[in-house]
């Protein structure tokens, strides 16, 4: 079994990372998952959270806010709407995201209210995880 796979992290503006990784921990919309080499092909959307990549040079953490991940047996591509190294994410960034989410949630009810509540909860969890 191969012990590494290709990992790509791209945002709309640029490619943030492209290297070999042995495992990628993904904050999936339905729950966290860890992709390892020879994973079954799967596409999942992301929730705001921490993406952590373990490669030959150690573990990198990125804060992502949405998008999706495509996992195949030979590699993992994460297409994140916004992704920054976790250390560079500031409280102000999260405040801005929370403000956006709250503005978007106005007038929601029923299922879409659940969705926006979940988004806010995810953002709060991300803030706690980052300790900002």
């Amino acid at each position: 079994m191969a012990d590494t796979m290709q990992f790509d992290l791209v945002s709309p503006e640029r490619r943030l990372a492209s290297h070999l990784a042995s495992e990628v921990h993904i904050p999936g919309a339905d729950g966290d998952m860890t992709a390892m080499p020879d994973h079954a092909p799967i596409i999942t959307t992301l929730r705001p959270g921490i993406l952590s990549v373990t490669g030959p040079d150690g573990t990198d953490n990125y804060a992502v806010t949405g998008g999706f991940a495509e996992i195949t047996s030979g590699g993992t591509s994460v297409l994140a709407e916004k992704a920054v190294p976790a250390a560079e994410m500031t409280g102000a960034d999260i405040d801005a995201l929370v403000a956006d989410a709250e503005a978007a949630a106005v007038g929601h009810s029923g299922a879409s209210k659940d969705m926006s509540d979940k988004l806010l909860a995810d953002l709060a969890a991300l803030r706690t995880a980052l300790g900002v």
């Binding site: 791209v10 709309p12 503006e13 092909p41 596409i43 999942t44 495509e70």
Partner: protein
């Protein structure tokens, strides 16, 4: 015949024009490099995104419950044309070509009895379409203050468009922008973004994916992002095209100014020689008369 002083002033004025166009050309060249870099850096995202969407759309797109952004509203009566041009002129036919394409498209749709609405991005396109289609404008996005196009700019435009779509203001949306080929060639392009069309790049290896959550949920989440992605890549292409067009326009202008200076200098020298000859004749005939 213009006198010497006039000629001299003209030569000076054309020389300073040449300095300006030369400087603009160099600035455009530097900006072009940056614009091209951003376009290249954005490419992996767009390509992967479109590949995944093409796969998803193919598996979900055929059934009745497909999201409206993909399947359409079932009508194509109201058309929204999103015309993306530059905020500045002096870039050759760049703005004109996009406006021309949009105008032809709009006239065709009107001839078919469709309702046309227009959303303009960039001042120049708005100015040139105002006279013919002024009453069809539904909005304008001003990017004058934007130095470097960011994804958030595209998201802003996409949100505006999607809000209008949710409010059933239109059925079909098409963006008009210029595709960058190289410095001398930019192709004005029309691309339909709602209902979404995804070009299958053909490199899908037929992998069957699991989807989490369901295919429909992913599609519903990603389609609005797809609109933003397409607008973003159009903005980037436009940015590169604008600088490319400006660079070649300014290169032409610089060359023309150079030719003009040469011509004027020859004329100036001839006039000066004529004046000297005249003076000599006067002196000689004066001396002979004594």
């Amino acid at each position: 015949m213009p006198n010497l002083k006039d000629l001299k002033t003209r030569i000076e004025s054309v020389t300073s024009t040449r300095k300006i166009t030369k400087a603009m050309q160099m600035v455009a060249a530097a900006k072009l490099r940056r614009a091209q870099d951003s376009a290249v850096e954005a490419r992996p995202y767009t390509e992967r995104f479109n590949a995944v969407m093409a796969g998803l759309a193919a598996s979900v797109g055929t059934n009745e419950s497909a999201p409206k952004l993909l399947g359409g509203t079932g009508s194509d009566q109201v058309q929204l044309l999103i015309v993306m041009t530059a905020e500045r002129g002096l870039c050759g036919g760049f703005n004109g070509n996009i406006a021309k394409l949009a105008r032809a498209h709009a006239n065709e749709l009107i001839a078919q009895g469709k309702t046309v609405k227009m959303l303009t991005v960039g001042k120049k396109g708005r100015d040139s379409l105002k006279r013919d289609f002024g009453d069809m404008f539904v909005g304008h996005v001003d990017l004058t203050e934007v130095k470097r196009v960011a994804y958030s700019d595209a998201q802003g435009i996409a949100r505006d468009v999607l809000d209008r779509f949710d409010a059933v203001e239109f059925d079909v949306a098409t963006i008009f922008f210029s595709k960058f080929v190289n410095v001398v060639s930019q192709i004005p392009t029309a691309q339909q973004i709602i209902p979404a069309t995804f070009e299958d790049s053909g490199d899908s290896d037929g992998t069957v994916y699991d989807y989490e959550p369901s295919e429909e949920a992913i599609l519903a989440d990603l389609l609005p992002r797809g609109v933003a992605t397409q607008i973003f890549s159009a903005l980037l292409e436009n940015g590169a095209s604008e600088q490319g067009a400006r660079m070649s326009a300014m290169d032409n202008a610089t060359r023309n100014a150079g030719e003009m200076i040469d011509k004027l200098t020859i004329e100036y020298n001839r006039s000066r020689q004529a004046v000297i000859t005249n003076e000599l004749i006067e002196i000689i005939s004066g001396a002979e008369a004594l």
